[in-house]
Symmetry: C2
Subunit: 536 residues, 2 copies
């Protein structure tokens, strides 16, 4: 009998096509060629034009010898050229490597060499650091200068501009889906704080599924949403939103810089409906004063949104959804899926609900919290800590040229995040800490996040981070570094007392420093720098 | 270099999980266990309960020896047991065969034998026809009676009820995704008008993708939509909507019969947001008089919605989206994706736009109209006819035990629909006819659909169908069979004149008969019966 279900039922070109998010652009250009696709200053292009430009890029690169598994590196802020590269590069079977614009020359040099980039496209604000990164390189990539109208600040890398490259290409270039949906689509280096960056490889299948999962996670995005590019496209390929936006035939509103005035203006003028970012992005926006009358859906990640921010956003007309993920999971792979009854809760309790990393994303297959050694699941008691692990199609292909680290990351059939969490009775996961951020004081674990959340309730505190400080008696004690709101004051002793009134005394900070918090380009606080700051 | 993109980047259980729509139910039961999942008369069950019942079903069937690629047949209207079978049966790797409730015993017998059903579950309204179908069968399936509260009309098939079967199973049954996403999930027999029915096999990958494509085709369905089950679940697995509804954690409102009063009541009481069906379903609803105040999204297929119906639906608060597909494409694989500017058009023009089959569905890969012999694409002139062909992951695995017919259906790398169409300048496809429905009169092709659309503009005509009638002089001439609106009159000569005033004279019907139109269970007009009716 079983044979009957195989014979004559094989895959054919008619009924099996490898999944690729490039298909979304092709469809949208077919169906909505005249609809607005991208806005960048005075530049407004429709989907027909974006598709034509992406095909020109693919064609021009192919003519210059770029092909399957060749790396094309790009360093640029959120501008149309980087958006187009998300399609034009993989149309060839080549691999997009979007570089973090905040990195220094040695880190960028490492990435160019490790990935073996055959082409480097650089925005004119970033040519100086790239020139330093390229210096003395044996096989330098083909250099392409992106001449964005908004900037011509630095000398070009060479004679070839992005527009000249496009002009070499054919707008009718006949691309095909990759032969295998497991083929690489992009390469994203982690910004680890120790050791060399790791090259996280994404495949077409995962990019396709996460792009769709983004839509479902928002309960659908409606027809033709307008998306503000506050989240960097170089960060996990903008959580796959370049591909999502092609699928929904929406509008990409570009931003060179995440500045409050520019955000406010874009939201009001273009009637932005959706955006993503770290808490700092929303804090900037809220502090700038709301000036739009419609509702904006905002995905927020990197750290839990504090109650004051949730309230501020609500007043400004921004509805927050908390998501969580890592470079290894294409961006968000969990979502704090809202439950209807939360709307009726008082703000503090609602914030408590929203602060959780939540449940697996719509198209992710599993999210679990386990003992990293025994792989036993932790009970749903909100107390027992374990490591967050994911399984499914929204997990990287692996680390490039790093099979041992890849195998360790996937050991036991789970992707191990390194983040420690508890599971609440409703199945929602809440991060307690990165393993390395746990403070061990007198043998007791202290979650630095828990202390930070208490600090955030203090009315004068804008930002706060807690790290371990060596202590002769206790081994470690918590030390807080805080930034106060403009025009407000507070003293260390008063802040410590505030915390002791709200949590176990051993968890309260022993010391409070006042300083600006060092952050990465994606808004994460750099705790390794804080540890140096508080070292005795 | 290329090796670097393979080694250490293989599929692992952590980063590759076969796609299956069963995953949607598992996630929704995890995240929204208490939310309402299904309503059927007095029965209201939440997602936790539906998941538990589906797992019980899988477990009980497994204990009775059902396994991978075993067929479980079900004959039932749109009731919870059939919904549960869409999950419980494939959880085992078994194949769901939902039988058309309008078929006669010989056709059902053919399906049971051809598919080799190991289990037959029958609603108590359908036991008589099944008893006849089973009579004298050498290896009859295990018989299970579904004792729906709403009906106990006929004697049971045997001693085992559906609820007793569930009681044998384990609500914690540990199912796994299929080993291969290409594995069969269901078997759906076409209701062809000639020859034996063909057994269309769906796989998990296609069911997953079409379930998601349904959501995207509606621009997202919002959080927790309420879906009215007017479209039969036995028809292309209800266009994959059982799985769609699990993904969006919505409410399934069951209906044993598509009756206007029951539909009106359900829409108002449960605040239905979405429904699907043939034009006749919407016509019944509109004629019954609107009685709800919110907007309902309606997908409409089988034939183009006539202008009067579009207007009637708009007045009733139903927003229609025209979709098109076949059993072989899991239901809709094209959608008449709305363009914003259509809203401003006068009704007749808007209806003209909406009457088209449109463009490929969100997650389908290609839709094309080609010469069936040369495979040349037809120009976008709205005139040149060709055959509609699809390519992508929303095309069947093939016909069961029928490799020659499967190969013919996929010849040249395209699934050939047998439907003839033109392509308009905007790329939207419009069906002119099934190949066999074309009328050839004096050597000229006449599209029966074109004549029907003209007839639909006549104020007294409710339903109309046009078929060829043999003619000594012209070979064939068009003959119309019409149903008039209740209380209205019209004469044949006047109707013919009405048509001649609006189209080429040779296309106008030569003869008009007044009769009730014979329809299939899915609302399609049975033209083969009409041809017999008009035969001289």
């Amino acid at each position: 009998m079983s044979d009957a279900w195989q014979v004559g039922l094989e895959k054919t070109p008619a009924n099996y096509v490898p999944l690729t998010p490039l298909s979304f652009l092709a469809r949208t250009a077919e169906v909505y060629p005249q609809r607005l696709a991208i806005v960048h200053g005075a530049v407004r292009r429709n989907w027909g034009e974006v598709y034509a430009r992406a095909r020109r890029l693919a064609s021009a690169l192919a003519r210059r010898g770029v092909g399957r598994n060749d790396v094309v590196a790009v360093i640029a802020p959120n501008i149309p050229a980087l958006y187009e590269a998300h399609f034009g590069v993989p149309m060839l079977g080549a691999v997009l490597n979007a570089l973090n614009t905040r990195l220094d020359a040695p880190a960028l040099r490492f990435m160019l060499e490790h990935g073996g980039a055959k082409v480097l496209m650089a925005d004119r604000d970033h040519t100086a650091v790239m020139r330093a990164a390229l210096e003395g390189m044996a096989n330098p990539p083909l250099l392409v200068d992106i001449e964005d109208a908004a900037t011509q600040t630095l000398p070009p890398l060479g004679p070839l501009t992005y527009e000249a490259l496009l002009a070499e290409g054919d707008a009718g270039f006949a691309w095909s889906p990759p032969p295998d949906e497991w083929d690489a689509i992009s390469l994203n280096y982690t910004s680890g704080t120790t050791g060399d960056p790791k090259g996280v490889v994404y495949h077409h299948r995962g990019a396709y599924l996460n792009a769709v999962s983004n839509i479902l996670g928002w309960g659908g995005m409606g027809r033709h949403p307008v998306y503000l590019w506050t989240l960097p496209m170089f960060h996990c390929n903008g959580w796959c939103f370049p591909w999502t936006m092609a699928s929904v035939a929406g509008v990409n509103v570009c931003l060179r810089r995440v500045e409050p005035a520019a955000m406010k203006q874009a939201i009001a003028q273009e009637r932005v409906t959706h955006m993503c970012g770290a808490p700092i992005v929303y804090a900037l926006l809220v502090d700038a004063g709301p000036s739009f009358e419609h509702t904006v859906q905002g995905q927020i990640a990197a750290s839990a949104p504090p109650p004051a921010l949730i309230e501020g956003c609500a007043r400004a007309g921004i509805e927050l959804t908390h998501v969580y993920g890592l470079t290894e999971t294409y961006g968000p792979a969990s979502v704090c899926a809202p439950q209807e009854e939360w709307a009726a809760l008082p703000l503090e309790q609602r914030a408590e609900m929203l602060s959780r990393q939540g449940v697996r994303a719509a198209l992710q297959e599993a999210l679990t919290v386990r003992d990293p050694t025994t792989l036993d699941e932790v009970p749903r008691d909100g107390q027992t800590m374990g490591e967050i692990m994911f399984r499914g199609n929204i997990a990287m292909k692996g680390y490039l040229k790093n099979p041992a680290t890849t195998a360790a990351a996937f050991a036991g059939g789970w992707f191990r995040t390194g983040d420690l969490a508890v599971v609440h009775a409703d199945g929602y996961v809440k991060i307690q800490d990165r393993s390395k951020d746990i403070i061990i004081s007198g043998g007791e674990n202290i979650s630095s996040l828990e202390v930070e959340e208490t600090l955030f309730r203090h009315p004068a505190i804008l930002h706060a981070a807690v790290v371990a400080q060596a202590d002769a008696k206790w081994g470690e004690v918590p030390c807080a570094v805080v930034e106060l709101r403009p025009g407000m004051t507070a003293e260390a002793a008063e802040i410590i007392a505030f915390c002791r009134a709200r949590m176990a005394h051993f968890k309260a900070p022993r010391r409070v420093l006042f300083a600006e918090l060092p952050k990465t380009s994606t808004g994460k606080i750099q705790k390794h720098l804080l540890r140096r700051m508080v070292a005795p």
